[in-house]
Symmetry: C2
Subunit: 261 residues, 2 copies
């Protein structure tokens, strides 16, 4: 079976970006559900689908039901859906942090369709460059989800619940925590009347390098070359920034051992 018709549950960021990517790829978005009818109408109209705010009118015969709601709401939505749908429909959610077992009590054919990207309301996303992590308990469904992913993205991977949990933790380090380091750079340059923009090409280059080489090989700076003079001078400056000094000390202590983990 090829996936052709889809119902989207949710009308937030993920539903918008994913919905449009699927529509452009030629999929039929039959319905968009949101408790807020206005939000459902906005999205459904732009996808040529039907807006619903009552699960009683949910289409019974779509090939796929995509739950694109906040992590905390997935269980409740699943519970309501099983009252309206056959337990044999294929259902997925789009969360990186929620195991597929959340559907266990309600549905027989369940999976994950997780676009690994930080999506913004205001910003268009080129979905062809967003990696899609797919998983399903049935082999055939997993393959169909993979094919669906390939229709909207160049990069699709089979990722099970445990692997997805690891990806989510890794994303905290490479996205949330590196943004915090950029914040540190932004704060101390601002205080010195230095434009933060001067650092942007260096940041971009840091990212370019790990596209070809493992980060371990690309490590530079005073900590990896054991330049204690420079480290001491930097720490003296950071006395005015106790939080930033803590980060500096910890990571400088860990970098020399990065080869031994």
């Amino acid at each position: 079976m090829n996936i052709q018709s889809i119902v989207i549950i949710g009308a937030g960021n993920m539903a918008w970006h994913l919905g449009h990517a699927l529509k452009i790829a030629g999929l039929e978005i039959k319905q968009v559900f949101s408790r807020k009818l206005e939000k459902a109408i906005q999205l459904a109209d732009s996808l040529d689908g039907q807006a619903i705010n009552d699960l009683q009118s949910i289409d019974q015969h779509s090939d796929l039901y995509i739950i694109a709601v906040s992590d905390q709401a997935i269980a409740a939505v699943s519970q309501q859906l099983v009252l309206r749908l056959s337990p044999n429909v294929m259902i997925v959610h789009t969360s990186g942090a929620t195991p597929s077992t959340i559907f266990d009590a309600h549905f027989l054919r369940k999976g994950i369709f997780y676009p690994l990207q930080s999506l913004s309301k205001d910003k268009k996303t080129d979905f062809t460059k967003v990696p899609i992590c797919v998983h399903a308990n049935l082999q055939e469904d997993a393959e169909n989800l993979y094919q669906l992913g390939r229709r909207i993205s160049h990069q699709v991977a089979y990722i099970d619940d445990q692997q997805r949990a690891v990806l989510h933790i890794a994303a905290v380090f490479v996205n949330n925590f590196s943004n915090y380091l950029f914040h540190v750079g932004s704060e101390i340059t601002k205080d010195a009347n230095v434009p933060f923009e001067l650092l942007l090409p260096l940041i971009q280059e840091t990212v370019e390098k790990i596209k070809d080489q493992p980060p371990q090989k690309m490590q530079t700076g005073p900590a990896i070359r054991d330049d204690q003079n420079t480290i001491d001078r930097h720490l003296a400056f950071l006395e005015n920034y106790p939080s930033f000094a803590e980060v500096y000390q910890l990571i400088s202590r860990l970098i020399p051992n990065m080869n031994s983990k």
Copy 2:
């Protein structure tokens, strides 16, 4: 006076990249000095200049002398140069970590010409996108260095010794330390048989966002939304990675206070 003729002291990465950028912009590279004649010849030949490995034959009348050697070697090179050159020549070094006062005992017109980028041997660098930080003790020299910078780069800034020291510290956070975080992501995904490449678009997006907005505004993740359940689950997983767990705990503790510094 417009800077037109240049002597480059050094034949390493910085000398190569900077020398070629200056040559392409129409500057005359009169000489390249390196203690290793073979290295001097390699670079000088590609710049249509003269290779020297003895400072006795250094040109006396160039508009600018650029010291592009390792931080530790700058003082010694400066000491040798003053024996061969008039103390009235304009001399600069290219180091982010070394104050311009290093020339105080030897030269009257001294400055900095610091390209803020991480340069690799194997990789071509588009120098027009490399910010150049300039400084000189004489106003006219500073302006000439600024003009020289503009001939090879779109982004030139007057940055004094203290500001450059802050930039250097900020670079450790945004470049060296963020690379360490990428290493963490690379390690834990490798151990779970997940391709690290899946995270590259997310990393790129993290960088795109701070080109428009301060990192402070772009902070996302469990720490900023005080999602202790997720943090606990992540820390349980990281028990196998005690170093990475330390980083996770520290930065998660600091992120909620990033608005108060």
